[in-house]
């Protein structure tokens, strides 16, 4: 068995080395693929906080991804058309500044997660899955009919948003931004897991009744986890929209919620780097198998089946064995 931190380190080295190689070999498409993997990883890291630590099987995380995407799309749309964003009583100007867009994505998806969480956490099990799914679909159908922002067709943002001091149109620079954000979130995630909140949430997943018996409220713990989780996935949504310079209702689709759940399970539920492994493997398979056949999802399905049947700790579990707890 390989120590988990070695796998994590190798992964990070790979995530830096591959785009560097692509830069040297003048393969910009590889950089774009790596960026896609990093952003999907970020979305899945968000889900993993709810799913892996909190045990909340959310099939509605596309809602937060989409909210992040539309936060970017709407702010950038108003900036590129030079129209104010009108809220009736007041109006704000659009923006092409990434940090501002990220902040909006974080806040809005956290708020959405708070509301969805408050309602969904009254249930558990299958009902929780169904309610989160329903919320995701609500957003999906809403954006389809939201003609101001492209409706079903979505909308294009012509120039990637800006970050002070960088040229975000250079693929490797944008990749760098995404990777640094991912690392930052992974670091915060690692702190969170070892914190007071992490310990309590981890226990709430395993034995809710014990947590109550020591005087804590498991529902409130899970709600905070859901909010943090939604905010991270929302941030990933804003980056994803910037990668494609395009947002559409597809970001809200339940298929996407399923996809990031697949990433988490593939890599290892509850492992900090699990979603990263999952995303890298997924994007690689998508690229390699997708080049061979249009039906590459079948092979992904077989791999997923094998993982679920024989390696419940996902790929990280396969490599590193049982979860190790740190003292």
């Amino acid at each position: 068995m390989i120590p988990e931190r070695h796998v994590n380190a190798a992964l990070l080295v790979g995530l830096v080395a591959v785009p560097m190689w692509a830069l040297a070999a003048d393969e910009p498409y590889t950089i774009t693929l790596a960026t896609r993997a990093v952003i999907l990883a970020l979305a899945a890291v968000g889900l993993n906080i709810a799913l892996g630590i909190g045990g909340l099987v959310s099939l509605g995380h596309a809602a937060f991804f989409g909210i992040g995407g539309y936060a970017m799309g709407i702010l950038a749309f108003h900036a590129q058309t030079f129209t104010p964003l009108d809220f009736g009583a007041f109006s704000v100007a659009g923006t092409k500044s990434m940090p501002v867009i990220w902040l909006a994505a974080l806040v809005l998806s956290a708020l959405a997660a708070l509301v969805i969480g408050l309602l969904s956490l009254r249930t558990s099990g299958v009902y929780f899955i169904m309610i989160t799914l329903a919320f995701g679909q609500m957003f999906y159908y809403f954006t389809i009919s939201w003609s101001t922002y492209g409706g079903e067709d979505g909308m294009s943002i012509y120039v990637r948003n800006s970050f002070p001091g960088l040229d975000t149109l250079v693929p490797v620079q944008f990749f760098g931004i995404c990777l640094i954000l991912l690392c930052l979130v992974l670091f915060l995630n690692a702190r969170l897991v070892r914190s007071r909140f992490g310990l309590a949430l981890n226990a709430a997943r395993q034995v809710s009744v014990r947590v109550e018996t020591v005087g804590l409220d498991p529902t409130r713990l899970k709600l905070l986890a859901f909010v943090i989780s939604g905010a991270v996935t929302g941030l990933a949504g804003a980056l994803f929209a910037d990668l494609n310079r395009f947002v559409s209702p597809a970001m809200f689709s339940w298929q996407f919620s399923g996809e990031i759940m697949v990433l988490v399970i593939l890599g290892g539920v509850g492992r900090i780097f699990g979603p990263v492994v999952g995303a890298v493997v997924f994007v690689t398979l998508e690229h390699v198998l997708g080049g061979l056949t249009d039906f590459w999802h079948i092979y992904l399905g077989v791999i997923l089946l094998l993982i679920v049947l024989f390696a419940q700790g996902g790929i990280i579990g396969l490599l590193c064995g049982r979860r190790v707890h740190h003292d």
């Binding site: 310990l199 034995v207 014990r210 947590v211 109550e212 018996t213 020591v214 409220d217 943090i228």
Partner: protein
Amino acid sequence: MTEPVLETRNITRRFGALMASDSISIELWPGEIHAVIGPNGAGKSTLIEQICGGLKPDAGQVRLLGRDVTRQSTAARARAGLGRTFQISALAMEDTVLQNAILGALGASGRPWGIWRPVLKDRGLRARAEEALHRVGLEDLTAKHCADLSHGQRRQLEVAVALTLRPKAFIMDEPMAGLGAEGSKRLTGFLDGLREEAPILLVEHDMDAVFALADRISVLVYGRIIATGTVDEIRANAEVREAYLGEGA
């Protein structure tokens, strides 16, 4: 003190036609171990759930330190001073012994929201958890995962988690269950001293332990308390002998 630490007043709970709790009144006074005994299905678990907040009584009151807590949640009652151990260990099996004990200390602190500082490096929480583990004799197993503990060690950890809360009253649901003679004897000795810290409401099947420990015994049969008294009174009570203790007593 003019009021008991913990008290139920005529609590009643029905499940359909079944009268699980029939107007039960029990008092727990400072310094005492009050044992509740009764045959299987007598309603002991239902009683405990109502005291701890897992079930709401149809009628009657649960009072803790003179306050009516009947409508309060399990968590609120724990914060108010109720320390419970479970009949079937309810521990975080993936976590270590120390992490489980720290969860108790964390609950007692009332501040679980920190997301930055490592909880295991928190000296206050750690000291409180380690003290409790030391008292039950688990100090050498702090790094062990709960899933790897023996049954007896899990029982000890149950008690340790309750100790970290420094409760005003202990509710112990069959703490001796599944312990060998040796373990039972050790835990009996430990609980004997614990009553001075906080009184214990002890639901237990192990009669040796009950007779050795209890200041008072209440006998629960078909949801009704048929007798309350000292060990000698209960031993001598004809109705109790017939209903529960049988010919062996």
